[in-house]
């Protein structure tokens, strides 16, 4: 199983890009991938120590990413974003009248709406399968250096791995961890040079699981045919 994971990591374009940009981050993510794989798919072997290790790795990786991409993640308007935002302020004022023209509403719109919208967008961008297997094609994002993370041929293995999770169910800690990385990833700008690295260990684990299941299936068929 760990061989499958190792193969998955080594053959992914993403791993080499991360190593190229930040060697230490790459090593941390590889170790984290093994820990995550154990947590999701080898539940009987999980221990409290494993959970603490995973959490520690998450915090370190998140801080590395946050340092590079937090400010631009949700706090900065581009000019193309600013113009419609300002226009909508006028539309709301015109149509909603006193319902909008009060301190609370205008504060919410001018100080919070943009950040909440960006945060929401960042989360959903990271949940896009095309981001990982097709470099966001056919809806490539503006001003973002889209790059191939995995070969499209690996997609079936990923889907088999997802079915594997559905079949075996997921440990509570795994579900919680999944939610944490989803919500945490929203704080980082989408065009962070190494991509949404918090998802790197999880996706590797799922693909590796798919590889293991496929290999087992083929092996079984081969034995039966003999």
């Amino acid at each position: 199983m760990f061989i499958a994971l190792f193969l998955t990591i080594l053959t992914s374009f993403w791993f080499w890009r991360i190593i190229d940009n930040n060697f230490i981050l790459g090593i941390l993510l590889v170790i984290d991938s093994f820990l995550i794989y154990k947590m999701i798919f080898l539940r009987e072997e999980t221990t409290r120590g494993l959970h603490i290790s995973i959490l520690s790795f998450f915090i370190i990786i998140f801080l590395i990413q946050l340092k590079a991409g937090y400010y631009w993640g949700i706090w900065v308007f581009s000019p193309t974003e600013r113009i419609p935002f300002d226009n909508r302020h006028n539309y709301l004022s015109s149509d909603l009248g006193p319902l909008y023209q009060n301190k609370a509403s205008t504060f919410f719109y001018t100080k919070m709406t943009y950040q909440l919208t960006k945060y929401n967008q960042n989360i959903f961008y990271n949940l896009d399968p095309n981001l990982y297997f097709f470099a966001s094609h056919p809806l490539e994002r503006q001003n973002v250096d889209e790059f191939n993370k995995y070969s499209p041929f690996v997609l079936p293995l990923f889907l088999i791995g997802i079915i594997g999770i559905f079949k075996t169910g997921a440990h509570f800690f795994a579900i919680a961890y999944g939610l944490v990385i989803i919500f945490a990833s929203g704080f980082v700008q989408p065009n962070y040079i190494s991509g949404p690295v918090l998802f790197f260990p999880v996706i590797n684990s799922i693909i590796a699981k798919g590889l293991v299941v496929t290999f087992s299936f083929v092996k079984k068929r081969f034995k039966n045919s003999e």
Binding site: P84, N87, R88, N90, Y91, L92, D95, L96, T117, N120, Q121, F124, Y125, L127, D128, P129, N130, L131, F133, F134, H137, P138, L139, P152, L155, I163, F166
Partner: protein
């Protein structure tokens, strides 16, 4: 069904109906040219039995070099005959289809799926009633919405046929009709019908006569379309939008051009990426690039719906062996195929059946989550807050932002210009239509021009002889009463003429050079002049006695 259930269903239908019909003629603000073409052709069929080109009861309606599916136009005829030609009557069929979709959602889950828990049926109907995609697509004259309604009706009938085989005959008829409603349904109907029959062949093989008759009925009703198979009418749109052609591969194939079987890898890659994009949470739950097929600040579903969607998918996976789950999953996975073989990324019009399937899955997920909450008070609080936030954000996105930001896409300013031409009937107008090439149809629609006048111009251009085959004839060179739609600077020597257009058509320098006087301005939603009308001054220009 108890009275309480009927009451709740009527309440849901009322909410859905209100969201679809409220201010329908005003929002979207304006009318896009496809809607105008649908409405005006229905008007023309009503008065003359022919479309705007003079073709009697066409199988496909020619529309600015493309071809529209006919069913929406024909079904709009009775509505327009009773209530007259207007924006409301043109959109009414789509809105009505939207309300019927809510009812069908209830019936499919309650009667078709035979899920005992009535709350799933009611929740399904309610989710459809308030889903952004369902409301948005019901509020424009959209053939795809009518197509969805027919697909769902056929879906209901075909599931029912597992117990009552004779329903298969009616379902094949309805499925065949759906192929005349929208182009994507031509592919989906065949795929779904054949797949469903294959999946449940053991049930149908016992009634071979009914099975054979249904298949024959379905395919024989396709004959009018098959007869046009090699014409532009049948395949022009597909030829324009698909990526299966050699030239697309040569332009976009990249390194695959040098690989053995590279073209097939290219096609497989394109298909898979597009197919997956229709299931992507990014595209389903957050703001797309704003265009006519989406609202500002909102995508097809509310963001919070991703949570019940996951719960619903898990539930579907668990019960996947059940008949209803199999049929729902079948429709879900077949629905994106017509869209996935085209070039446009996430073209929502072509995948309405998928959004319906996702909505039902969301409804299942909502109930799975609510069942885990024991406190009724907490359940009601969560539901209330979510509803208020959802409907509030929908109101803002659609009734405010969309109204202002998309009015150019719905030609609002040009419609004001056309109304101006109607007010000034004694003046001749020359309107630049470079940005909206089919502008004449808006004039014909709003001024309710006698179709004979438009048809005569088409006859003179020999369009009828090559109606289905030659889409390249320039059929935009039409004059409507006192308005022509081409700018001719040589005409600035004419009196009693107003030249109108945007700043790209008529710059300030050009107006000065041709001695034009500003007659009026039409503003955009931000209050800035978007269109200007200039009257000619031939004497000032030195045109002599003209």
């Amino acid at each position: 069904m108890s009275k309480k259930i009927v009451f709740i269903l009527i309440l849901i239908l009322s909410i859905g109906g209100f969201l679809r019909f409220f201010n329908l003629e005003k929002i979207p603000l304006g009318l896009n040219t496809d809607e105008a073409s649908l409405g005006y052709n229905a008007y023309s069929i009503l008065l003359t039995g022919m479309d705007e080109y003079g073709k009697a009861f066409p199988i496909y309606f020619r529309s600015f070099g493309n071809f529209q599916s006919p069913l929406y136009t024909y079904l709009s005829v009775p509505i327009i005959s009773i209530f007259g030609l207007s924006v409301l009557t043109t959109r009414a069929l789509s809105a009505l289809s939207g309300v019927i979709i809510i009812l069908l959602s209830f019936l499919i889950v309650y009667k078709g799926f035979k899920i005992k828990a009535i709350e799933i049926s009611l929740t399904s109907a309610f989710v459809i009633a308030i889903s952004p995609w369902a409301i948005f697509f019901s509020r424009i004259a959209l053939e795809a919405n009518l197509g969805l309604m027919l697909i769902l009706l056929a879906f209901f009938l075909v599931i029912s046929s597992l117990e009552k085989p004779r329903m298969l005959v009616i379902s094949s008829l309805v499925l065949a009709l759906s192929t005349y409603a929208y182009h994507a349904e031509r592919i989906l109907a065949i795929l779904f019908f054949c797949s469903f029959l294959s999946l449940f062949i053991k049930s149908f093989i016992k009634n071979k006569k009914i099975l054979v008759f249904s298949l024959l009925l379905f395919f024989s009703l396709q004959i009018p379309q098959f007869l046009l198979f090699n014409t532009s009418a049948f395949n022009k749109r597909f030829n324009e939008v698909n990526y299966l052609k050699e030239e697309v591969f040569l332009n976009e194939g990249g390194e695959l051009k040098n690989i053995f079987l590279g073209k097939y890898i290219f096609i497989a890659e394109r298909f898979t990426s597009r197919y997956i994009s229709y299931f992507s949470p990014k595209n389903l739950f957050i703001d797309l690039n704003v265009n006519l097929s989406a609202m500002p600040n909102m995508s097809m579903f509310y963001s919070w719906m991703v949570i019940p969607l996951v719960a619903g998918l898990i539930k579907l996976f668990v019960v996947r062996s059940k008949t209803w789950a199999k049929t729902l999953l079948l429709l879900m996975f077949l629905s994106p195929i017509p869209a996935a073989i085209t070039r446009e990324p996430f073209y929502t019009f072509r995948t309405l059946p998928l959004f319906w399937c996702i909505s039902i899955t969301i409804a299942i997920g909502i109930l799975e989550i609510l069942r885990k909450i024991s406190s009724l008070y907490l359940k009601m609080t969560i539901i209330t807050i979510i509803l208020i936030v959802s409907l509030g954000s929908f109101y803002i996105s659609y009734f405010i932002f969309f109204k202002y930001e998309q009015n150019k896409g719905y030609n609002y300013q040009y419609i004001q210009l056309i109304k101006k031409t109607e007010q000034l009937r004694n003046v001749n107008f020359m309107v630049d239509s470079a940005r909206v090439p089919s502008l004449y149809i808006l004039a014909a629609f709003y001024n309710k021009i006698n179709p004979n006048l438009i048809q005569e111009q088409s006859r003179s251009r020999q369009i009828l002889k090559e109606y289905y085959t030659n889409s390249k004839i320039n059929d935009n060179d039409v004059e409507v009463e006192n308005v022509s739609f081409h700018l001719d600077w040589g005409s600035t020597c004419r009196t009693n003429l107003i030249i109108a257009g945007d700043f790209l058509a008529i710059s300030d320098d050009q107006a000065k050079d041709h001695h034009l006087s500003l007659a009026f301005e039409i503003n955009d939603s931000n209050g800035q002049a978007y269109l200007k009308g200039y009257s000619t001054n031939p004497f000032d220009k030195g045109c002599g006695n003209k």
